[in-house]
């Protein structure tokens, strides 16, 4: 036998063929020939390697280095570097999506390292068109054992004992199915293999057939021996030409070798096989329809009983097993039931192959033990969600499966758990969806599929799916009606219970599962005419506008920047946002996360452009508003929400009194956000505009202390509570009361009040949100020598804005991840050190982040003289909730009535902002202010029998110009003050955009608002 110094295994599955592996192999062979290496290095084309998203992939043995995305043009360099010079070619190696770490060998790449290969044990290892290579890896040994040493009953017992369940989806015990067929009288019986993989996104069967076809043949022969069959069929869809080709080659080779056909292995047992090509009807994956199709008839299911084990193909006893099931059989017989049952859960044994697709980094084929947590598959093997988005749900079981949402990432994936969560195992299609997927839209998509694929035989499936789809389509198109959800539920139930076959019985699953886990999204579509995931385009002009809580007309002001009409642009801003200069600096810009430009390169810098307008345009002049109405309104709290409501109400002609405990208005804008992010003059200017409208500002007036709640109730027609969440939550750990331990809110307030607090030399900030960063960076500016942020999770879990974290680190702030304080230690009541312990990540919590768990014995002490706690905020109520008639939740937040955004249980008392939602963004507070003003106005008008208020709007013509061509251009970077400079004081860090930069950036807008007729 010829010995080679190196083997190159190049993937030849359909996926890699499609991404160019045929060409790569050709060029590689030519290159080896040219360099005279053909005699030293052997190139082998294998079946699917599993890492399909990275194709074409090749692995060099014996070193096991794996190259990905290798193109024909890379070959000369690869040969030169790796094969001639013996150097690993780094640029084509695997990089961890999150950390960017380069991993050279296959067994170390988490995608492979965490898998347990049984069905796929030969993938990427052998040439599927060479039977010798299969045999060399124990192929046909199980069959030989079954045929020579075992009676049919022994085979069945072994399979029963292994606990193997049908991998086609229903999970029926394979051994039991065989036993029924073996007990069924008749001389002619059939063994059928279901290779009609029809689920969108599923390709397990195809890969197995392409990578290891003999494993399926071996399983079928063993099955045949077990039930006494002599003829088998593989029903494979015609869209799998490579699989069919390799099966044909395998069948021919097996026959040639005496492993199939007459007198197998000289045991006198005959079994022959034929491939039947299916035309691609989804329903032909259903066993009776599949058999009808092999019989040459239209593939339509027939009622059971009789079951196929009694009367199947041509009314003869038959067993139908899925490709994956059969590929397990040889190994079970060879290694025994106990070996097989060694992995898995109590009722689901062995491994399961999943086709991992969707919004996950590592798309491909994975095989894991039954019971592996969903999160492990998605995050550890799948590499997490692409583009830094958030995981939303996994669709398991194809179009008839269901969605498993984020809160079940710990769920062990096995038949029982999956069913309990309202999905099905199916054949193993696992589609990962990120936050940009709309649950209703997904349900609609899958229902559309099932509707098209219904064979038309039974009424509930044929008509019911149409009718459910019609409702879903209406909901997605903004035409959802009251009662639609109830209709969907009723019909889903009827269809599930009355449909003839599995297709119909499971077709409502996606609807039921999304209704179960994402009912709020349905309700938002129907009642609020809003698509929370910003997918259903009927609801919006552009995704950015829909994502914005106050629906800012983003494309218009970007277009006006481009047209150099900044004053008009400013007017557009002010239509919905009283604080454009502020939002241009501190908004969390949800709009940018939904920007369609990000699918091309990066999202448009909407926030910077907003600031550019306010920096450069003349500020529109605002007149004092005359009071035209009799009603008086009290707004309590002069934060962004209260100010917005006061402004809106004043513009409607109401007399508004704004109460605040402090001397100046601004609330969290002033007391929470440091000046280096939001200069005070900017803040003052925008607040002054509002107060100048004629709003009466009663500062230094603490409701409940300086003025009684009852007095306000008596004097005003309506009250808006915008009291915010003004108190830091305490840590509850030992030593919390020591001097030097304080809350971030309190700390920042002191700083912003100008009462420069005492700042320690060594400071620890506990928490990972924006307040933590603000406190840390403020402390640094106030002269702290070291500032360390202690965060109990990982960087990617931090709620603070990414740029803020980055800036903090740049400024020299240290962040300790996976650390939590255990106790604060001190002397004489004064803090001296904090004792921390290390954390490790455990299971996923409901937010989809891994829960930190303490590492025993990992305690360590950190010498600090000040600790700032930024671990949460609470509202402080100016009233006694009970007598006031206002509901307050356990989280100490004000409750609002169902069906309303701001109305509380008390008449004409409204509430909004952080006091209702918990700590939220500026723009969220502004939105609440708008809602409150509208609802207060509507309530008053309703009481008076007046017509609803429709605000008059100035029409601003927006240029409707589209670029002919769009080129990839990176997003603009905002200039910043140099790091060493800025930490000296509280001057603003971010500088505005230049005109040139702003025009370029504004031109990146794709103008999703323009409708082309």
């Amino acid at each position: 036998m010829k010995v080679f110094r190196s083997h190159i295994l190049i993937c030849g599955g359909t996926g890699c063929h499609a991404s160019g592996s045929i060409e790569v192999k050709k060029i590689l062979l030519a290159e080896l020939e040219n360099r005279g290496l053909a005699g030293e290095i052997k190139v082998v084309e294998t079946g699917c390697n599993g890492f399909c998203a990275m194709g074409p992939v090749l692995v060099v043995y014996p070193d096991g280095v794996m190259y990905m995305n290798i193109q024909a043009g890379d070959i000369p360099e690869f040969v030169e570097e790796h094969l001639v010079k013996g150097r690993v070619l780094e640029r084509l190696l695997y990089k961890e999506p999150v950390t960017g770490e380069v991993i050279p060998t296959m067994q170390e790449i988490p995608f492979f390292a965490l898998q347990e290969l049984r069905v796929l044990r030969n993938r990427g290892m052998i040439d599927p068109e060479k039977i010798e290579e299969y045999i060399a890896r124990d192929g046909y040994a199980g069959m030989a054992k079954a045929l020579t040493e075992m009676a049919p009953a022994d085979i069945i017992k072994e399979v029963m004992d292994s606990g193997l369940r049908g991998r086609g989806g229903a999970g029926f015990p394979t051994g039991l199915k065989w036993r029924f067929a073996s007990q069924s009288p008749g001389d002619i019986k059939y063994v059928l293999c279901n290779a009609d993989e029809g689920d969108p996104g599923a390709f397990m069967d195809r890969s197995v057939l392409e990578a290891d076809p003999h494993a399926v043949l071996e399983g079928m022969v063993i099955a045949a021996k077990a039930i006494g069959s002599h003829q088998g069929y593989i029903y494979c869809r015609a869209e799998y030409p490579l699989a069919i080709h390799r099966l044909n080659v395998a069948i021919a080779q097996a026959k040639e070798a005496g492993l199939l056909g007459k007198d197998i292995l000289g045991t006198g047992f005959d079994f022959d096989l034929e491939i039947y090509q299916g035309a691609g009807a989804f329903v032909c994956g259903e066993e009776t329809a599949l058999m009808t199709s092999i019989e040459g008839k239209r593939g339509m299911p027939r009622p059971r009983p009789p079951f196929p084990a009694i009367a199947g193909l041509w009314q003869r006893p038959s067993i139908l097993n899925n490709v994956e099931t059969l590929a397990n059989i040889g190994q079970i017989i060879l290694h025994g039931a106990a070996w097989y049952a060694g992995v898995g859960t109590i009722k689901s044994k062995g491994t399961k192959v999943f086709a991992l697709t969707g919004d996950v980094n590592n798309i491909g084929l994975v095989e894991v033990p039954m019971g592996t947590p969903l999160g492990t598959i998605v995050y550890d093997i799948g590499g997490g969600i692409a583009k830094g988005k958030k995981f939303k749900a996994a669709q398991l079981g194809g179009p008839s499966g269901g969605m498993i949402p984020i809160q079940y990432l710990n769920a062990p994936v096995d038949y029982e758990k999956v069913a309990e969560l309202g999905a099905i195992m199916g054949s193993g299609g696992l589609i990962v969806m990120n936050e940009d997927s709309c649950a209703v839209d997904m349900a609609r998509f899958f229902m559309d599929f099932c509707k098209d694929e219904s064979c038309g035989k039974c009424t509930p499936c044929r008509v019911g799916t149409q009718k459910m789809l019609e409702i879903l389509t209406n909901i997605c198109n903004g035409k959802g009606k009251e009662g639609d959800i109830e209709k969907l539920e009723k019909w889903a139930n009827v269809i599930k219970n009355t449909a003839l076959c599995g297709l119909g019985q499971t077709a409502p699953n996606p609807v039921l599962s999304t209704l179960r886990h994402f009912r709020n999204e349905y309700e938002a579509h129907i009642h609020e005419k809003r698509c929370p995931a910003v997918v259903c385009s009927a609801f919006f002009k552009t995704p950015c506008m829909h994502a914005c809580p106050i629906n800012m007309d983003i494309p218009s002001y970007l277009a006006l920047i481009k047209a150099d009409r900044l004053e008009d642009a400013y007017k557009v801003l002010l239509k919905t946002n009283p604080f454009p200069s502020i939002c241009g600096r501190v908004c969390d810009h949800k709009c940018e996360t939904k920007c369609r430009r990000s699918t091309l390169d990066e999202s448009v810098g909407i926030k910077y452009l907003k600031r550019y307008i306010t920096d450069n345009a003349a500020r529109p002049h605002l007149e004092k508003m005359p009071v035209t109405r009799n009603e008086k309104i009290a707004v309590i709290g002069a934060g962004p929400s209260g100010l917005t409501a006061a402004r809106d109400l004043a513009l409607r002609g109401y007399a508004v009194t704004l109460f605040d405990a402090y001397a100046q208005a601004g609330g969290m804008l002033r007391w929470g956000i440091p000046a280096y992010r939001l200069p005070r003059e900017i803040l003052d200017r925008e607040i002054a505009d509002i107060l100048n409208l004629g709003v009466e500002f009663r500062n230094n007036t603490r409701v409940g202390m300086d003025i009684s709640w009852d007095a306000i109730r008596m004097s005003y027609d309506a009250i808006y509570l915008a009291i915010g969440a003004q108190r830091s939550a305490r840590s509850g750990v030992e030593g919390d009361g020591l001097k030097g331990v304080e809350g971030a809110i309190e700390f920042l307030r002191e700083v912003n009040l100008g009462r420069i607090p005492e700042v320690g030399k060594r400071i620890a900030v506990v928490g990972g949100g924006n307040s933590a960063i603000d406190a840390a960076r403020s402390a640094l500016r106030l002269g702290a020598e070291t500032v360390t942020i202690l965060y109990r999770r990982q960087r990617e879990d931090m709620p603070a804005q990414d740029v803020e974290i980055h800036a903090a680190q740049e400024e020299g702030i240290k962040i300790e991840y996976l650390v939590a304080p255990v106790r604060f230690q001190g002397a004489d009541g004064r803090l001296q050190s904090v004792v921390c312990q290390r954390m490790t990540l455990g299971e996923f919590d409901v937010s989809g982040r891994k829960k930190p768990v303490t590492v025993a014995g990992s305690e360590f002490s950190l010498d600090v003289d000040q600790v700032i706690l930024a671990i949460g905020q609470e509202a402080v109520m100016p009233f006694d909730a009970g007598p006031a008639g206002i509901g307050v939740s356990k989280r100490k937040l004000i409750e609002v009535e169902k069906g309303s955004k701001t109305a509380t249980a008390a008449a004409m008392v409204f509430a909004g902002g952080d006091a209702v939602t918990g700590p939220d963004t500026v723009v969220g507070a502004v939105a609440a202010g708008h809602h409150a003003a509208a609802e207060i106005d509507a309530a008053i008008r309703l009481r008076n029998g007046e017509t609803p208020y429709v605000p008059a709007e100035e029409e601003i013509a927006v240029p409707m110009v589209l670029d002919d061509e769009t080129q990839e251009i990176p997003r603009v970077c905002i200039p910043e003050v140099a790091c060493l400079e800025r930490i000296k004081d509280f001057r603003e860090v971010e500088l505005g955009l230049s005109r040139e930069a702003a025009l370029t950036e504004a031109s990146r807008c794709l103008r999703c608002d323009i409708q082309i007729e």
Binding site: E453, S454, G456, T459, P460, V463, K490, N497, L500
Partner: protein
């Protein structure tokens, strides 16, 4: 020993019932008077389980089950009706109504629709499901039936009927999901498809998706359930298919095949296009009073007395003056046995007519001739043997036109059992199914038969004959295969038709008789041979000895005659050309025979074929069936009995039967005792 079916005990709606093992829940319920609504289920068809209307709850089953397909099990507990089941059924019904255009008001089947009935039964007075407003095609290409897919509920009854009973498999489902449609062949319209127009699909259709274009609008003329449903037979071609005639206010509204009950017939209750549709057509201008041709050649109405007097006196006159030899009687073989006996006896004994024959007498003479060659009278095989044959040779016959059901049976045999069917002669080969088709002109049939004979003997003489018959190379090859198949067959049967019996020389038929004998006889000495005769009661006429074994004499001898016309219209038959110039010819006919108007002198109206009872003898002469009267004879028209009784009295003839019943019995006796 008789084996008793195993019994199974179960509980339905709290009631303990015992039924045969293997029964479905639906059957068990129905046998015990418990009603479960159904749509796709039909007693004559296999169970389908598609509409899901019949869902019930079964103990231990997590889902509802379709009772029409679920077999009973010992100890099973079934609930057929509760709130939840009703909700599911109503939802299903609403789904069906909303799916397509079921606006009952505008449906020709309104009032005769199972879907509509169910809506009333389940009190579905409004829809909570929005209409789909999908537009589906309608197919009005066919003369007999229209298909409106907008009214189709995809129950698949038509598909099953076409496959299971007709055996044609013309209909099937096409497309998937909401686009599902009942398609014909490969998306052909009805007219261009291989459909035989048997109309069974239409009969089993529960809605107005398939409708009869010859049937009056039910909304105007009445619904099936208000009709008198007459259990009778069709007498048009001699297969005597049982029918149910729907009659209201003396209008024939519909004819349906009798699908229920096993009557031992291989057609299992089908009807052909003739029996189902043609009978509903208007045949011609009805003769509503006696008429006589005046001197100037115009037709004038006459009173019964006048016409009976005219005809009897003319016939009597000629008999007296010229003798019976100058008189003839010609009868249609479409007439009933009773009519034929009345006519025969009146002509032969009452008028001593020198020549009495049927219009298909020539065929009779050929058959008799062939018989003589065989020196022994033969008995034909029953047409019901066709499905059992492994090889059928059709010679000079066009069964799709003469006896369409035979064509259907052959098609089914070919498709379902691989029955080998060879078509020889100018015939319809029921393409594309026929195993062999060797088209030759009628004149060349004897050559082909000669070649067949030679081929079976193993002699090479056949080749020359084939050459002479003008066969192409392909046809010669096919012919050799026919010879081989026939030689190899164990249970072959010949079907010969008018093209062969129409030959004057009976030798060819005699050859077939001898070939048939070579393969052995059926029980009761029956030959492996069926002769497809021209008219509905030809076998009866032949057996009653009306058809003359003598050739038609020169018409110059004839001075007077009587013609008995039948239905469907016989008046354009070639045989009647002979009548021109005969001194006096009278005709008894239900219609005004336009083509004979200048050849005939007196017309006596008689009942149309549905207006008189009578017995008919099957095409093979083996069976006689009774056809009951479906419609009342119009006022002023005498029945055959009265007509002949009056005529007989007036010529002084006294027949030996006192009643119609006597007559029937006499005819039956005669037929039984006679072979052709």
């Amino acid at each position: 020993m008789e084996t008793k079916a195993k019994k199974v005990k179960l509980t339905i709606d709290g009631k303990e019932v015992v039924v045969d093992d293997g029964a479905t829940i639906l059957e068990a319920a129905r046998q015990n008077g418990i009603k479960i609504p159904t749509l796709c289920q039909h007693d004559a068809l296999s169970n389908w389980g598609g509409c899901r209307m019949c869902v019930v709850e079964v103990d231990g089953s997590p889902k509802l089950v379709a009772s029409c397909v679920m077999p009973v099990r010992d100890g099973m507990g079934v609930v057929t009706t509760n709130e939840y089941i009703l909700e599911c059924r109503r939802t299903m019904l609403e789904f069906i109504f909303a799916e397509r255009n079921h606006n009952c008001m505008f449906c020709p089947q309104s009032g005769d629709c199972e879907l509509q009935d169910l809506a009333y039964e389940l009190q579905m007075d409004h829809l909570t499901v929005a209409f789909s407003f999908n537009k589906f095609p309608t197919d009005v290409t066919n003369e007999y039936m229209a298909i409106d897919h907008n009214r189709c509920i995809l129950c698949g009854r038509c598909v099953r009927a076409c496959k299971e009973i007709v055996g044609a498999s013309v209909l099937n489902f096409q497309n998937r999901g909401p686009k599902s449609l009942i398609g014909m062949d490969l998306n052909q319209n009805r007219e261009e498809s291989t459909c035989h127009n048997d109309g069974l699909c239409m009969q089993v259709c529960p809605t107005g998706a398939m409708v009869n274009r010859y049937r009056g609008h039910y909304a105007v003329k009445g619904h099936s359930k208000d009709c008198q449903q007459l259990d009778t037979v069709c007498s048009q071609c001699g297969l005597l298919c049982p029918t149910i005639n729907f009659v209201k206010d003396n209008n024939l509204l519909n004819i349906e095949g009798k699908l229920t009950g096993d009557n031992g017939r291989p057609d299992r209750g089908q009807l052909c296009y003739k029996g189902r549709f043609e009978a509903l057509k208007n045949t011609g201008k009805r003769l509503d009073s006696p008429m006589a041709r005046s001197g100037d050649g115009t037709w004038k109405t006459a009173t019964w007395d006048e016409i009976l007097k005219l005809v009897s006196e003319k016939l009597n006159d000629i008999k007296k003056k010229e003798g019976g030899e100058a008189m003839f009687g010609l009868a249609s073989s479409a007439a009933s046995n009773e009519e034929l006996v009345l006519f025969r006896d009146f002509m032969t004994r009452g008028c001593s007519a020198g020549y009495v024959d049927t219009f298909d007498g020539a065929h009779f003479r050929t058959v008799v001739g062939a018989n003589k060659e065989g020196k022994q009278a033969f008995r034909e095989a029953s047409w019901k043997m066709i499905p059992q044959a492994d090889m059928v040779i059709v010679l000079g016959a066009a069964p799709s036109q003469s006896q369409p059901m035979i064509s259907t049976l052959l098609g089914k045999g070919i498709l379902e059992r691989g029955q080998k069917v060879a078509f020889l002669g100018e015939t319809d080969p029921i393409q594309p199914y026929a195993t062999y088709y060797i088209p030759v002109t009628d004149g060349a049939l004897p050559l082909l038969i000669g070649a067949l004979k030679a081929g079976l003997k193993g002699s090479g003489d056949g080749v020359k004959l084939l050459e002479k018959a003008g066969l192409e190379a392909d046809a010669v090859k096919a012919f050799h295969e026919v010879v081989k198949s026939f030689a190899d067959s164990v249970n072959p049967i010949f079907i010969v038709g008018e093209k062969l019996t129409g030959l004057e020389d009976p030798m060819a038929l005699a050859d077939i008789v001898s070939l048939a004998k070579q393969k052995g006889l059926y029980p009761e000495e029956a030959l492996r041979l069926i002769i497809l005769k021209p008219r509905g009661n030809s076998a009866g006429a032949w057996k009653l000895g009306i058809s003359s074994s003598k050739k038609v004499p020169g018409k110059s001898k004839w001075k007077a005659g009587l013609v008995l016309l039948g239905e469907p219209d016989d008046s354009n038959l070639a045989a009647l050309e002979e009548l021109k110039g005969v001194g006096f010819v009278a005709a008894i006919s239900p219609y005004f025979p336009e083509s004979l108007a200048d050849k005939i002198d007196a017309l006596i109206p008689k009942p149309a074929w549905l207006e008189e009872e009578g017995t008919f003898t099957s095409v093979d002469g083996n069976e006689t069936a009774y056809k009951q009267k479906s419609l009342q004879t119009p006022v002023g028209i005498m029945g055959s009995w009265e007509i002949f009784k009056n005529l007989a009295e007036r010529v002084g003839f006294k027949p030996d039967y006192q009643s119609w019943k006597d007559l029937s019995q006499k005819a039956e006796r005669e037929i039984k005792n006679r072979n052709c």
